[in-house]
């Protein structure tokens, strides 16, 4: 069996027809991890016992002839900032090195009801802050496509685990591109749902008005299958929204029905010309197949990254105040409380986390609040309006996922701003709260290219259906 090609649909069929047991499947993944993850380092910890126990439960049900859920018995990897009760949850930070989650995130609860098998917790940039996993407190993940290159980030461990055949699908979180950019770098599918579609309860918070959990998978169908399980209103997340969702599987979308907007601002300076060629050739292909292509403008795009680097650190500085050495995690024992704070946080947080906490503290401090924070919130509104206006005319917006393919380790670590620019095409969807997906769209010198499709608010199912149609044509 080709573990790195196995889809949810195929795995489900194999389990149902008893060609393989869930225990065998789980063991096959664990074996693959033990053989190869020494080089890749996609995982921070494995949840082997829990996984095998769950697999056996599913096998018993199958043996009894009971029907099983679509995700039952199928191995998933979970980003280590999402809580699984009884398992370590470090967010790749030294400050949470030995923290054991006392409860399940809502997405985990929902997946458990499906009898999903959690194989392990994946690596990330510390507290999901970064675009390469180089900010992990426990060493970076390597891109399975080329071990000298980064897998992207922050959900780099999840994307690498899917690519390397360590699981069938994974969960990531996306604050400014952290699902889509690594999916693009590793050549898999990554979906960030509409803000509010999926509960954030049990996700270690980075920037609360931007964070969203979503799937990383081998194709659009699998991403949709996972999304249909994890979405939904949750009383433990007051920003989750009660929606009547369409059924993804109802009907496919014909390419001739699709109006695609191509924003000119996403094809300017900084974009690798080879990526531009790749994306434009796909646009031509889609047009030939009957899609309606429209050049559009999102005039405030150029300001999105600047807005992001005000809003995000402001929220980070508030969210990370909870790591104080008192309630959980690392604690430096000293006689004075102030010294406990200073030493615990000074030593527990890595450089990027401290940079962003300080940036947020500065921006929110008296005298600067209006000049930075309020101004950024206003420009955020203008960015949202750009999208609102565009979606009056088009169903979906097509862009590159990232301006480059996977870069080499160390290329961008000396200058934080150069690293931040990796997210220039993904950040706007988070600011606007709208859904977006990255699909593999080919290769340049053996490295995967990602194509991003952005949808309107709560048009997640429509976006996924369109993505499926486009995926079929690209292949």
């Amino acid at each position: 069996m080709n573990l790195d090609k196995l889809t949810i649909k195929k795995a489900h069929e194999l389990l149902k027809s008893k060609e393989i047991t869930s225990a065998e499947l789980t063991e096959a993944f664990l074996k693959n991890i033990k053989e190869k993850d020494g080089d890749i380092h996609a995982f921070l910890s494995l949840t082997e016992e829990q996984a095998l126990e769950q697999a056996k439960k599913v096998d018993e049900r199958i043996a009894k002839g009971e029907p099983i859920e679509v995700l039952a018995g199928i191995s998933a990897a979970i980003k280590d900032n999402i809580l699984i009760r009884g398992a370590k949850a470090t967010a790749a930070s030294k400050i949470l090195e030995n923290y054991i989650a006392p409860y399940d995130a809502t997405v985990i609860k929902k997946l458990k009801e499906e009898e999903a098998v959690f194989i392990g917790k994946t690596n990330l940039d510390e507290f999901a802050m970064g675009s390469s996993t180089e900010n992990s407190g426990f060493g970076p993940t390597k891109n399975p496509v080329d071990l000298e290159r980064v897998p992207g980030g922050s959900s780099g461990g999840s994307a690498a685990a899917v690519k390397a055949g360590f699981c069938v699908y994974a969960l990531g979180s996306d604050t400014g591109g952290s699902i889509r950019q690594p999916a693009g770098f590793c050549g898999v599918v990554g979906f960030k749902p509409t803000y509010g579609a999926v509960s954030r309860h049990g996700l270690i918070a980075m920037a609360s008005s931007l964070d969203q959990i979503g799937p990383i998978a081998r194709n659009v169908d699998d991403a949709a299958a996972v999304f249909e399980i994890i979405r939904g209103v949750d009383e433990l997340d007051s920003t989750s929204v009660d929606m009547k969702w369409q059924d993804y599987w109802d009907r496919p979308v014909d390419i001739e029905e699709i109006k695609i907007g191509v924003p000119r601002e996403y094809f300017t300076h900084g974009l690798d010309p080879e990526i531009e060629k790749n994306i434009k050739s796909i646009v031509e292909k889609l047009e030939k197949e009957g899609a309606q292509i429209k050049e559009i403008s999102l005039p405030y795009s150029d300001f999105a990254l600047a807005v992001y680097y005000i809003i995000m650190p402001a929220e980070v500085s508030a969210n990370l105040a909870r790591f104080d050495g008192i309630k959980y995690g690392l604690s430096k024992s000293l006689p004075k409380l102030l010294d406990v704070y200073l030493k615990t946080r000074g030593e527990g947080f890595g450089a990027e986390a401290r940079r962003r906490i300080m940036l947020g503290t500065y921006i929110l401090s008296a005298g600067y609040y209006d000049a930075y924070y309020t101004r950024a919130q206003k420009v955020r509104r203008l960015i949202k309006k750009d999208f609102d206006f565009a979606f009056k005319d088009v169903d979906v917006i097509l862009t590159p996922t990232s301006p480059t393919t996977a870069f080499k380790f160390g290329d961008k670590t000396a200058d934080p701003l150069s690293m931040y620019l990796s997210d220039i095409y993904t950040v706007p969807a988070n600011l606007a709260g709208i859904p977006a997906i990255s699909l593999p769209s080919g290769e340049i010198d053996g490295l995967p290219v990602g194509l991003q499709l952005i949808g309107n608010s709560f048009d997640d199912i429509k976006l996924l259906r369109i993505a499926k149609t486009i995926e079929t044509i690209i292949k």
Binding site: R85, I100, P102, Y103, Y195, G196, S208, S209, L236, S238, T239, V241, Y300, F303, A306, V307, Y309, I310, A321, G325, I326, K327, G329, L330, S331, S333, P335, K336, L337, L338, V340, Y341, L342, K343, R345, G346, E347, A351, R355, I357, M358, L359, T361, Y362, S365, Y372, T374, R375, A376, Q377, K378, V379, R380, R381, L382, K384, D415, P416, L417, Y420
Partner: protein, 98 residues
């Protein structure tokens, strides 16, 4: 742009201990990001309402219900066990008074 002194002040407000040799680099990094975000001053924001969150929902609240408890007894114990310093069912902190 930001001086070493300002970095020290911000770090103190944020309760972050910094090593002496890190301060210059942080001053440089923070200055470069703050320099970059200055570009927002080019935008005309007159009459624009700030977007204060990710959704249009407003003040979602629920009824206070003391019988509703998301933590079972085992979870309660696990939460208390996770604390670095504990006395009975309390989180223990050092004295804040001189």
């Amino acid at each position: 742009m930001l001086t070493k002194k300002e970095v020290e002040k911000i770090a103190e407000l944020a309760r972050l201990g910094l090593k002496e040799e890190e301060k210059e680099k942080f001053a440089e990094d923070l200055s470069s990001v703050i320099g970059y975000v200055q570009k927002l001053s080019e935008v005309n924001i007159e009459k624009v309402e700030p977007m204060t969150g990710g959704t249009n929902l407003e003040s979602v609240t629920r009824k206070d219900d003391e019988t509703k408890n998301i933590a079972d007894l085992k979870m309660r114990e696990e939460i208390l066990t996770a604390t670095p310093d504990r006395q009975d069912d309390y989180f223990k902190v050092p004295s804040i008074l001189e």
